[in-house]
């Protein structure tokens, strides 16, 4: 938020994706500048998750173009694709930790095997990242021994260790018990304040209000509204975003975080 450059870090242009005959993404475009946090909101099935997975080609888009800094990414150049994915951290709704590795090894494994770092160096770096998300003391525990919030923090540490240029967060708190959401949001808030470039899909409206640089409202595969939180979320504004968020408020009695 503090150091917004003009050159976009990530540029996504006219992404389309059809799955099972249904148009999931319909010409979605947006840009992320360094240090920006953009938030994707909107009803389930609107294409948020598919968009995030298209950005790092976990789901290959049918058409559209993606640039990281000035380099366009081509899915068929495997080596470039692997290098690109290292620079784009992804946080999943259900954590996807490696079940046979403890917290420390979960963070270290990609450093060792993908970045070819020496074991000792990788483990040191991994511990730094676990400390950064506040769970250095859980380094020796396996995923089965961690709470949901702790697992999600390990997965954030795992992504951070790769020194990503951008992070994609796909509803990082949706699978968590309500009392565990706070610890993960705190980590994300700290990242935002440290200037990490991020795009976050979430339903935590209260949380994004003071943090997001821009809100992208997605519905039926398109960004149908976008703007700064103040414009879209202020009560009384007749935006689609505002009415969606009011509904969320009514349903959950959303707590401010």
């Amino acid at each position: 938020m503090t150091s917004v450059e003009t050159r976009p870090v990530l540029r996504v242009e006219r992404i389309c994706k059809k799955l099972g005959g249904k148009q999931i993404l319909n010409e979605v475009s947006f840009e992320l500048r360094k240090g920006e946090l953009k938030v994707l909101i909107g009803p389930s099935g609107g294409g948020k998750s598919t968009l995030l997975q298209c950005i790092n080609f976990l789901i290959p888009p049918d058409s559209g173009r993606i640039w990281l800094k000035d380099q366009e990414i081509h899915i068929h150049r495997k080596r470039d694709l692997y290098a690109y994915r290292q620079k784009v951290g992804m946080i999943f709704q259900d954590f996807n930790l490696f079940d046979h590795l403890n917290a420390l090894e979960n963070v270290a494994i990609a450093l060792r095997k993908v970045k070819k770092m020496a074991k000792r160096e990788a483990l040191e770096r991994a511990l730094q990242e676990l400390n950064r998300v506040g769970i250095g003391d859980k380094a020796a525990l396996y995923p089965a021994q961690l709470s949901g919030g702790q697992k999600q923090r390990v997965s954030i540490a795992r992504a951070l260790a790769m020194d990503p240029e951008v992070m994609l967060l796909d509803e990082p708190t949706s699978a968590l018990d309500p009392e565990l959401i706070g610890e993960v949001l705190t980590v994300i808030r700290n990242l935002a304040q440290d200037g990490m470039t991020m795009i976050l899909a979430t339903h935590q409206i209260g949380f994004i209000r003071g943090l997001a640089d821009e809100i992208l409202f997605m519905q039926e595969g398109q960004i149908i509204e976008q703007g700064i939180p103040l414009d879209l979320l202020t009560a009384g504004k007749s935006s689609r975003t505002q009415s969606f968020c009011s509904k969320l408020h009514e349903l959950s009695g959303e707590q401010e975080l």
């Binding site: 997975q53 994915r85 999943f92 259900d94 995923p143």
Partner: protein, 221 residues
């Protein structure tokens, strides 16, 4: 006397056979397991063509009796100009057969691992091969271990079929002795006991391995 027969005839012959049996089992079990891991992984995550090949191989070797496979290798291949020593034919047959079964256990274990972990490896920049070697297969092996161990125990016993293609191992030695002295009951009881000891030791070793590889979240605590 009875003791003379046991000490001077039966035990030396059976021990000689036991050694041969071990020479069959050790390479067959270890190489067969490797074949199973490779084929099982290819059948789940391989190129579509590789998948078909793997399915075909497993279908063929699980679908025909082992004796027939051994006959083809030992008596059939010479028709094509390929001559295998009895030992080589037996080990090759066992590897191919056990590999097919092991691939099935590995395949099942791989399918039981949540797909999300594969997505996570991709998102971190792993290649498919790296993801298999460091993430998927280590977990699959832990899940498959009880089944794979079971197959090794089967192998210990079906290694006795080697004597049919003239490789005289434990069962072969015993059968020769039993026929010569006409003492079927004692000899076959003794052979059964030898196999029981081998299987018990293997079972013990496998249980130990399971404990050593134990990780919270896999199997029982």
């Amino acid at each position: 006397m009875e003791a003379d027969f046991i000490l001077q005839e039966l035990m030396p012959a059976l021990n000689r056979g036991l050694l041969k049996t071990l020479l069959l089992i050790l390479p067959s079990a270890s190489i067969g397991l490797c074949v199973g891991v490779l084929v099982g992984t290819a059948r789940v995550y391989g190129h579509p063509l590789l998948k078909k090949l793997g399915d075909g191989y497993a279908g063929l070797f699980r679908g025909t009796p082992l004796v027939i496979q051994l006959f083809v290798l030992y008596f059939g291949l010479p028709n094509l100009g390929i001559y295998l020593e009895p030992y080589n034919a037996a080990v090759l047959g066992f590897i191919l057969c056990t590999g097919a079964y092991q691939s099935e256990y590995v395949r099942g274990a791989l399918l039981s691992i949540r797909r999300g972990q594969l997505l996570a490896t991709q998102a971190l920049g792993f290649s498919t091969l790296q993801a298999m070697i460091w993430i998927m297969v280590p977990q699959a092996l832990r899940r498959a271990l009880p089944g794979c161990g079971n197959e090794i125990i089967y192998l210990i016993k079906y290694s006795s079929l080697a004597y049919i293609i003239t490789f005289i191992e434990l069962t072969g030695e015993g059968k020769i002795l039993a026929t010569r002295y006409f003492r079927f009951t004692e000899v076959f009881l003794a052979i059964g006991f030898y196999y029981l000891v081998m299987v018990t030791l293997a079972d013990f070793g496998l249980k130990k391995l399971e404990k050593r590889l134990y990780i919270p979240g896999f199997g029982k605590g």
